[in-house]
């Protein structure tokens, strides 16, 4: 897919640019206490909108950014306005179902799981990483869990999950 940069230059910029973005986001998240799931939680529990507005601003900023840059350089946004990456899944390598209902079912289960765990652990994944950089040992174990989770998911879960989903929601 063509962007502003040639592919052989762009691949070198992937680690550098994501490191810089991560740095900026990490710094600002530490200062602001930004948390997506915390925003939902504060809204529901305390009627506080500070973090929730932050999450809405994320959607709004991204919508604005995608709209502007897709006008400036349309070739970099070939499928705008829609994410489709082979089949229905939006993430290459993530479990892909034969029917769109299977993908929806996984999105609903995954979303509810993320929200529930986020509340019980006291923060979304980004907040956990920022808390670990503030010296919270619980969150450091959370990050280790994330990394182990990747291996467990691809060794034991992904094939079975796709089979179950496709049996429940045939194409």
């Amino acid at each position: 897919m063509p962007g502003w940069l040639a592919a052989n230059i762009a691949v070198y910029l992937v680690p550098i640019s994501t490191l810089i973005i991560g740095f900026v986001v990490g710094y600002m998240a530490q200062r602001s206490g930004f948390c997506s799931i915390g925003g939902f939680r504060d809204l529901l529990l305390f009627k506080q909108t500070r973090l929730f507005i932050g999450y809405l601003a994320l959607i709004g900023g991204a919508a604005l950014g995608y709209f502007i840059f897709s006008l400036i350089i349309p070739v970099a946004f070939p499928t705008y306005p829609k994410v489709v990456t082979g089949g229905f899944a939006a993430l290459p390598g993530a479990p892909n179902a034969a029917s769109v209902y299977g993908v929806l079912a996984m999105a609903v289960v995954g979303g509810i799981g993320l929200g529930l765990l986020g509340v019980l652990l006291g923060g979304c994944p980004l907040r956990q990483i920022v808390m670990s950089s503030e010296g919270n040992l619980n969150s450091i174990f959370f990050i280790i869990g994330l990394c182990v989770g990747v291996i467990i998911f691809y060794m034991f879960i992904v094939a079975n999950l796709v089979n179950i989903i496709n049996a429940l929601f045939p194409a």
């Binding site: 940069l5 762009a10 602001s32 350089i73 995954g110 979303g111 986020g118 019980l120 652990l121 950089s133």
Partner: protein, 175 residues
Amino acid sequence: MSEKPKTEDKKFNIKNLIKIPAVLGLTIGFISAFLQALLISAGGPEAYGFCVVCHTRDLVNSISKNLFGTTFPTAPFSAVFPTLTIIGVIIGGLLASKRNKEFRFKKGSIKSYIFYFIGGILVMIFGLMLGACPYRAALRTAYGDMIALIGIVSIFIGVFIGTRIIIIKMKKESV
């Protein structure tokens, strides 16, 4: 938790500006769009500028591929060199907390370490089922992906269930 900004210090400068969550939200969204315009030639998928779950997966799978020769997938975006987002976040958060003297070790118990460790595993599994963390779900929604919007609604339902559990727990403890 929700820290309130100090009232005495309300001058308009960068230091106070970055304490507003909405500023960070706008920044993540806009930078992600810029990153796609710049680097989509490295490979897809779209709306991949910032994601805790997916970028961590790419990094872990890329390392395990190089060390142990595994064939776990990464996004084409990370096929040559992996995304280092999570490392950037750790360095950025560390620098911010050190500079503002907010860094302190906070120990837990063995029980809480196990709880958070298993929590991390489950968050990664659920995140990969959704194909996004809450952040990429927002990016995908902004890109026009309705499945991601349903994902966000599901996260909200999950948070609602979680807050009910917290309320029930607090009532039990107060009795």
